[in-house]
Amino acid sequence: MLLLKDLVKTFTQPDGSILPVLDIPEYRVEAGEQVALVGQSGCGKTTLLHMIAGIGRPDSGKVRIDDWDITLMPEAEVDRFRADRIGYVFQTFNLLAGFSALENVLLSMRFAHGRPDRARARHLLDRVGMSHRTTHRPAQLSVGEKQRVAVARALANKPQLLLADEPTANVDAGHQQQILDLIRGTCEEENVALIMVTHSDEVARQFQRVDHLNEFNRSAVGYVQVGNKRI
């Protein structure tokens, strides 16, 4: 479902030097698969998710989702592609402050295909246990509740792939497991592939597949060569 091939991403730093962040020969995730992605802070996890979502462009390499290579698409098409097929859950929730819980979900639909499906939005909010808070603004919600709304929003357009960037890091300890179960449960129900970045061993331990970025990213400081391919 997801295939990264020879993906290279560097950043030009303020002093003009080049910072290599990602150099990934190959990386795959199958449809409906759930992956925990771990690695120390600053190793490029968020950057990798951005590349997969088409939020940022790699310097070179392929990002194939199903049969589409989004690096070949014009930007506007990538935006539409992302809206239709990729859900994103942020560490800091990133709900839009001016909109109610329900509107946040609807807005995501609006950006995708223009026609908000209210029934699905309500169903999703119900699924994440937020049906009693649909008209609340983000400021009126607890952190746990915010993330639950964010999960509903990420699933609004029936994505094939959900990218979750440390979704429990900012949630109080008591609700972390709840959020985790919610994300994994809904992804399973809707057959959504999941890549979840996490720092927590406790979270990672619950996944069958745990990928260490350092093990497949040649730019990583602690890159350990596992295969024998080296250029």
Partner: protein
């Protein structure tokens, strides 16, 4: 959920700044609206005056002076024309083409209001504002055989507090302080408001005028006044209705060829006067209003642009949810348009509201009654005008939204 709603919400997010922006835009638009409405009012009241007849025949001299005197009862008195020349219009060579010719005699006032000596036909044969007939709010028209009767325009009546049956004495000249004639006139009627300068004048029987002068001339032993005492010798002007537009031109040219008098079309002179005096002023005021509106537009730009750094993150989130660059750019543009249009609506409200509050005063001064919802057609350009302005001032912040680096803005926490 439409993009308009998204734009609206972000306006709501910054309610105070948005409200101030709308207010400043509103004041600019209010000024434009007020100028347009006042211009309309002044224009109407100006043009109305000369709409009841085709020609004014008066002494040779400035045409503006003649019109100001006979239509608006303003300016310095003009010379007179011989009564015999007036008779050319009624029984002489021009008579066949003339439908009505009403003599008017100026030179007196009552408490500052012009006293006009005329004949009762002034209110029966002449119309005002095109085709409206004069009507009396109280009493009736004066009779030609009752020399010392008079009727009052509505404003003159209200201001002088004269009622039907009460006497008043004309004062010589156009201001207060002239010689007061001893013989009083009696009010027999008060006209309904017409919205023309007639409202601000006092009308008396022309023969009464003549009688006063003759009587006083006899007392003072003026030989000339004594000489020809039963005939009116001269009048100030004649208000003439002709049978057709073609006849108007013919008579006008013929009179202007004669050495005795001039004939002018009041409507044309008024239009020229208006353009000359009020027209230029209007452009200046309108320019100021438009400038104010543009400055308010720049205020919108500044307020949105200032908010961009706070919103970069939010814009990046929208982009991450799948909104295109064009979409986030549109949202900003719409925000600008909404602010401008709300300012426009507020401006219309303030502008028309203020004029409406002043409408009793305007009605009294000009006779033009302005309703709250009396829009000038030209105000319609406000809508496209404001949208264009909003698009222009929204462009810069919209481009900032368009260029937002999503990846970087997402990494920096809000």
């Amino acid at each position: 959920m439409s993009l308009w709603k998204v734009a609206w919400r972000s306006i709501q997010q910054r309610l105070f700044v948005s409200a101030l922006t709308v207010l400043s835009m509103g004041l600019g638009v209010a000024l434009v609206v007020a100028v347009l409405v006042v211009y309309g009012v002044v224009s109407q009241s100006f043009h109305r005056g000369g709409e009841g007849y085709d020609l004014i025949v008066g002494a040779k001299g400035g045409r503006e002076q003649l019109v100001l005197n006979t239509v608006f009862y303003l300016s310095q008195p003009v010379g007179n024309i011989p009564y015999s020349y007036f008779e050319e219009l009624t029984i002489g060579k021009f008579a066949p083409a003339v439908e009505a010719a009403i003599p008017v005699c100026m030179g007196h006032n009552y408490q500052g209001f012009r006293v006009v000596g005329t004949v009762p036909e002034m209110f029966t044969e002449l119309k005002y504002r095109g085709d409206k007939s004069y009507e009396f709010a109280a009493g009736k028209n004066f009779q030609v055989e009752n020399h010392f009767e008079g009727v009052l325009g509505s404003v003159a009546a209200a201001r002088t507090k004269l009622h039907v049956g009460e006497p008043f004495k004309a004062v010589h000249g156009s201001g207060i302080g002239g010689h007061t004639h001893k013989q009083p006139f009696t009010v027999v009627g008060i006209l309904k408001p017409t919205g023309t300068p007639v409202d601000r004048a006092v009308f008396v029987n022309m023969y009464g005028f003549h009688d006063i002068h003759r009587a006083e001339a006899i007392i003072s032993g003026d030989r000339e006044g004594n000489a020809d005492h039963d005939r009116i010798k001269e009048i100030t002007a004649a208000l003439v209705c002709t049978n057709s537009a073609a006849e108007t031109d013919v008579i006008k040219r013929a009179i202007n060829r004669d050495k005795v008098a001039q004939a002018v079309s009041p409507v044309r002179v008024i239009a020229d006067l208006f353009e000359g005096i009020v027209g230029k002023l209007q452009w200046i005021l309108l320019g100021m209003g438009i400038l104010t509106t543009v400055v308010a537009g720049i205020g919108i730009m500044v307020s949105i642009y200032n908010s961009m750094s706070d919103r970069r993150h939010e814009i990046a989130v929208m982009r991450a949810l799948g909104a295109s660059r064009t979409t986030v750019m549109l949202v900003i543009m719409m925000e600008s348009v909404l602010l401008a249009l709300m300012g426009g609506a507020l401006g219309l409200l303030i502008g028309h509201g203020a004029i409406w509050l002043c409408s009793p005063w305007i009605a009294e001064q000009t006779g033009v009654i302005v309703g709250l919802l009396q829009f000038q057609l030209i105000e319609l350009i406000l809508v496209p005008g404001l949208i264009i302005l909003a698009a222009a001032v929204g462009y810069l912040p919209a481009m900032a939204a368009y260029r937002t680096d999503v990846s970087q803005s997402l990494i920096t926490t809000p």
